[in-house]
Amino acid sequence: MYAQLVETGSKKLKTLDEMGPEERQFQERINDEIKIEPKNWMPDAYRKTLIRQISQHAHSEIVGMLPEGNWLTRAPTLKRKLQLMAKIQDEAGHGLYLYSAMETLGADRDEEIDKLHDGRAKYSSIFNYPTLNWADMGTIGWLVDGAAIVNQVPLQRTSYGPYARAMIRVCKEESFHQRQGYQILLTMMQEGTDDQKAMVQDSINRFWWPSLMMFGPSDENSPNSAQSMAWKIKRHSNDELRQRFLDQTVPQLELLGCTAPDPDLKYNQETGHYEFGEIDWQEFFDVVKGNGPCNRERIEARRSAIDNGAWVREAAVAYAAKRQHRAA
């Protein structure tokens, strides 16, 4: 998942006794692990939170095409070009079916995309970092898709049916992308020249911390988590997921023969977990607020694609209307 800081609009969790009959029935259904479907009654805040979360996820897929598109024209072999293009196409596909899942909640795709373009809606902070060398195509697959998978696997069991089902398909494809990304790095580290190895390390240095930030703020600074967890649209805390990601990633990093840009990274024998240094939360909040290296560029790219295509969409609508008129 690429959703961070999703606002739930709730200050305090209600107990079952404090709920009216409909809400109580709804919450019991969730507690019993029965999926909520589009036609079921749901609290307004649940609906709005889900729209925010799913749209953020969809926007992330679409904006996430851009940093990869930056290297699609320069992929160094036909095989890598085909792989990267297929990956980007999968992401466009994920965006499409996430928007569809979102529309089952009564939201409108075009309206939500407008919110992205005017800064009201967010997308994952990670896509505001630039892709500066070819190894970034490997690192994004390995670390960024890897972090997304850790987030998304539990979402296959999320309480809202259409979202959970979309996640099952997304997860399969993301796992494939992650292996492919790691393979790009492994090939360069095991068979590449010194220049190629340096590319890989440089790429990891730049994407390491932003990947850890993908899980969102630490638990003590996640005011929306309790409500999201009660609704089971989030199933584990940010810190839990971040730890899970780190524990699976560090051995892979070692296998590559690379290092992390974190002098405090070490394995704790007693806990069986890796410990890591302090995340620069100032940087995270800056990027989320729009002050990352590529924020303006990414939004501008999306906006201009849609604006420049306005005449095309108008033509398609006009032609469809003409045809309908002729058929009548």
Partner: protein, 274 residues
């Protein structure tokens, strides 16, 4: 290093046109797909709608796949002919300069606006489908096999590009104007689609390539049918035509396209794997 020298010699020989006509013919097929595929790669994130983003990537993927098949075959023939080793499709794609590319000029034209992109695709598809249909019956079994597979893809490409030409031509006043302008600008590159030179002639005589007159007639029929439905005016078949791609005389656009596409293998010539 010795390997590299051999490869360079092979590529130099190629520039001197020492390769067999079949190799040259395969380069034409492969380079068309590669260069047009690269134009699609440049469109990533720029489509007018999300559904079109998927469609453009789809067409691009098909074209790169076709390029890999044609160039792979060409490379094998070159290895056999020149008694050198290790020239593969990637070498042909990433280590040749513009004058060694054999693609049609229409495939290297810039993306422009969506009407330019669609116009280029349609004029090419309308030819490509009929060519592949003929090649599917080639006397060379490998060509027949690749063509049969590619034909399925190209048939979908033509359906899609025809639909868009019609929508834009018969859509709004603005889309009509843009589509007509794109067509008028691209028309000068269509003469080359139907042109037959010595290489083509050798392929036709060997039963490898199909009869060019049938292809020309079918191309014209497809173009006329779609343009009429699109309420667009077809420029004259007798108009002046810009040709040269098939023998390596390109427009200024190809050099930049290759500079971008070939950047990594050129900047890191010692890297053998990626």
């Amino acid at each position: 290093m010795q390997n590299m020298a051999l490869k360079n010699t092979a590529l130099k020989n190629m520039a001197q046109k020492t390769q067999a006509p079949l190799t040259d013919y395969l380069l034409r097929l492969g380079d068309n797909a590669l260069v047009l595929g690269q134009r699609h790669a440049q469109l990533c994130g720029k489509a007018p709608a999300l559904e079109e983003e998927l469609a453009l990537m789809n067409v691009g993927l098909d074209l790169f796949g076709q390029a890999r098949n044609w160039l792979g075959y060409a490379a094998e023939l070159m290895v056999a002919d020149l008694v050198t080793d290790n020239i593969d499709a990637d070498h042909l794609a990433f280590r040749r300069d513009a004058q060694d590319f054999r693609n049609l000029l229409i495939t290297e034209q810039p993306n422009g606006d969506f009407a330019d992109t669609i116009g280029r695709q349609f004029l090419f598809d309308a030819w490509h489908v009929h060519l592949l249909d003929g090649l599917a019956g080639s006397s060379d079994p490998r060509i027949a096999e690749v063509a049969a597979k590619s034909l399925k893809e190209a048939t979908y490409h033509l359906r899609r590009s025809s639909e868009w030409v019609i929508r834009l031509g018969d859509g709004t006043e603005e889309s009509h104007t843009r589509m007509q302008r794109a067509l008028d600008n691209l028309w000068q590159f269509t003469g080359e689609l139907l042109q037959v030179d010595e290489i083509d002639q050798a392929m036709i005589e060997a039963g490898i390539a199909p009869d060019p007159e049938t292809i020309a007639a079918r191309w014209k029929a497809t173009v006329e049918e779609v343009l009429e439905e699109a309420t667009l005016e077809r420029p004259s078949y007798d108009a002046w035509m810009y040709t040269g791609g098939k023998v390596g005389h390109h427009t200024e656009h190809l050099g930049f396209l290759l500079a971008e596409m070939q950047y990594l293998p050129r900047a890191y010539p010692d890297a053998t794997v990626w």
